[in-house]
């Protein structure tokens, strides 16, 4: 098993990026699993948290915690400032025009449910929503629920045999009945990157709005919602080195303003009587109840952290890891990698002809290597590719070439057990 001493630079890494230094920011990465050093390659499911995020959340609880937006006392003012400051950090991070376009939600799943419920209420039977085969269940099921409630029609963009988005087929599905296009930026199961700019441009030409599921994009590449011209862009904090329990719905201001509330309750109202309630403007209109205050602070700190490393450098590093992993895994007899060869995020989905993905994952786990096995909440895509499951290794900024070596060594162990 190859392992690097922390002070020893890996000759394969880039001059100004050192994953071994990034790694030290993450306390959990120094633990052992089954007596072996942890090699965490399940980042597409959830990322680990840097010390600064953990500390910022502890500090908020220890020094500046109260409910937000209503107290006149000092702690409430400070908590509100921290919460709203996080909103501004998110806006800057994805280049939203203003912080008012950032709605805090529990995660990307809730963001999509919010849009399907609220924007969906403005759709009529026969209106069409376009999805793709690449979608995570969270970008399928809310639209199906809307379909069953209102009679809208779902259209699904097919993929090719490698899981590549078929743009021509997409264009063919668009018509003046298309009201919403909801497409992932990066496939969580395969790493496929879609051409969001072109997708948005074509949808707008037909008068449809576009929701982009950015969960797997935001941690790995620079996202500029204004340049993409997306109407909605959603992501979860926990895949971006931030805490669970908070996520982001970006929406263009005029569109959010036109939408009815999602949930009713405190925080989202101007005035309430039993006859009539008036609602706040967005984003607060969509934030009923006490929000995830400290989680927002954690997310803001995670964004600071990612920006301090630089998404450009993270992206380049992960690309090198992906190339290296593709080369090494690709050389293993009986191992098949899925996903298009072209533009791809740092996700490798694979199967082995002598072991089922679950068995691969169990054996890798015993070697300290954490990967995901299963359908990755993308069953329609798996069925399309004729698979019931794949093993998936997904990379983050703190992963090193030595991690890829550990993965390859672990697969050697799979062969030893099953061979």
């Amino acid at each position: 098993m190859v392992s690097l001493v922390a002070s020893q630079r890996d000759p394969r890494s880039d001059d100004h990026f050192d994953a071994e230094i990034v790694r030290k920011d993450f306390p959990i990465l120094s633990r052992r699993v089954h007596g072996r050093p942890l090699v965490y390659l399940d980042n597409a499911a959830s990322c680990q948290k840097p010390r600064c995020v953990i500390d910022a959340m502890t500090l908020a609880y220890e020094t500046a915690y109260a409910n937000v937006h209503r107290g006149v006392h000092a702690l409430s003012e400070e908590a509100t400032a921290g919460f709203e400051n996080a909103r501004r950090k998110v806006a800057t991070f994805i280049n939203a025009e203003s912080a008012d376009e950032i709605v805090f939600v529990r995660g990307a799943t809730e963001a999509i449910n919010l849009v399907a419920s609220s924007y969906g209420r403005m759709l009529r039977a026969g209106d069409e929503v376009v999805l793709s085969y690449l979608e995570h269940h969270s970008n399928i099921v809310p639209w199906q629920m809307l379909r069953d409630a209102t009679g809208i029609v779902l259209k699904v963009v097919p993929v090719d045999d490698d899981g590549g988005f078929l743009f021509d087929e997409y264009e063919r599905l668009l018509s003046d009945r298309t009201k919403v296009v909801a497409i992932t930026h990066v496939s969580n199961a395969l790493g496929t990157v879609t051409r969001i700019g072109g997708i948005v441009e074509r949808a707008h030409a037909h008068g449809a709005v576009v929701l982009v599921d950015g969960c797997q994009a935001v941690p790995h590449m620079v996202v500029d919602v204004q340049s993409l011209n997306a109407d909605f862009y959603v992501f979860s904090s926990h895949k971006l080195y931030g805490p669970t329990g908070i996520g982001v719905l970006y929406g263009k201001k005029d569109i959010l303003q036109s939408m009815p509330p999602y949930q009713g309750g405190g925080e989202m109202i101007h005035a309430v009587s039993f006859e009539r309630t008036t609602y706040k403007d967005s984003p607060h209109r969509f934030e009923a109840g006490t929000p995830a205050i400290v989680e927002a602070v954690g997310l803001g700190t995670a964004i600071d952290y990612v920006r301090s490393i630089g998404l450009g450098d993270i992206n380049a590093h992960e690309k090198r890891l992906l190339d290296y992993a593709t080369e090494r895994l690709g050389a293993i007899p009986g191992l098949r990698i899925f996903g298009p060869a072209g533009e791809k995020a740092a996700i490798i989905s694979f199967t082995m002809d002598f072991a089922h993905p679950h068995d691969v994952a169990t054996i890798l786990d015993r070697t300290g290597v954490a990967i995901r096995a299963g359908h990755h909440c993308a069953q329609p895509l798996m069925n399309r590719l004729g698979l019931s499951a794949t093993a998936r290794a997904s990379f983050a900024a703190y992963n090193s070439f030595a991690d890829v070596d550990a993965l390859v060594d672990g697969i050697g162990m799979v062969r030893e057990v099953f061979g």
């Binding site: 089954h34 679950h358 068995d359 169990t362 054996i363 015993r366 798996m382 019931s388 057990v417």
Partner: protein
């Protein structure tokens, strides 16, 4: 590490997963059920031919899944064939206890024979791998559903 893994992936398991026994459909079953593990997408379909005097005369299965789930289903069919429904229920309870308990099983008294226990002990290697227990139990719950005349089983119901 390898010892741990050998405990789970014993030669018997690998053999059954590579060449599953009774891996076919029954054309005219007296009962059948399809079992799903929604967490991982594993599917197993169990077919039964039970005689009027409650003897499991034939049993077959088809499945998509990992080595553990295929081997467990295959070994279950071998254990069930020729047994009465009541005898199988006892084996089921024993299997359940072995997979979830401390692995200590009293083989005396009216317990099934030592060969049955040996078979089950191999499967009970999943105890050390909590995330994999459902892989081993899916086909057994599906068998139970087939015996009970329910067409479906999932790992999200019941206590295992």
């Amino acid at each position: 590490m390898l010892e741990d893994l050998r405990e789970l992936y014993q030669e018997v398991i690998l053999d059954h997963s590579r060449s599953p026994r009774n891996f076919r459909r029954l054309d005219d079953p007296t009962g059948d059920a399809e079992g799903h593990n929604p967490l991982c997408g594993d599917i197993v379909h169990v077919f039964l031919a039970v005689s009027p005097d409650n003897v499991i005369q034939d049993i077959a299965f088809q499945a998509k899944g990992c080595a553990i789930s295929i081997a467990s289903a295959s070994m279950m069919t071998e254990l069930a064939k020729g047994k009465t429904v009541e005898e199988f229920s006892k084996i089921f309870e024993l299997f359940h206890d072995m997979c979830t308990g401390d692995g200590q099983v009293d083989v005396g008294g009216d317990q099934p024979g030592a060969d049955v226990v040996d078979h089950l002990r191999v499967l009970s290697g999943v105890r050390g791998f909590p995330m994999r227990v459902k892989c081993a139990t899916l086909s057994w719950h599906t068998m139970k559903a087939a015996l009970a005349g329910k067409g479906r089983a999932t790992t999200e119901e019941g206590e295992v």
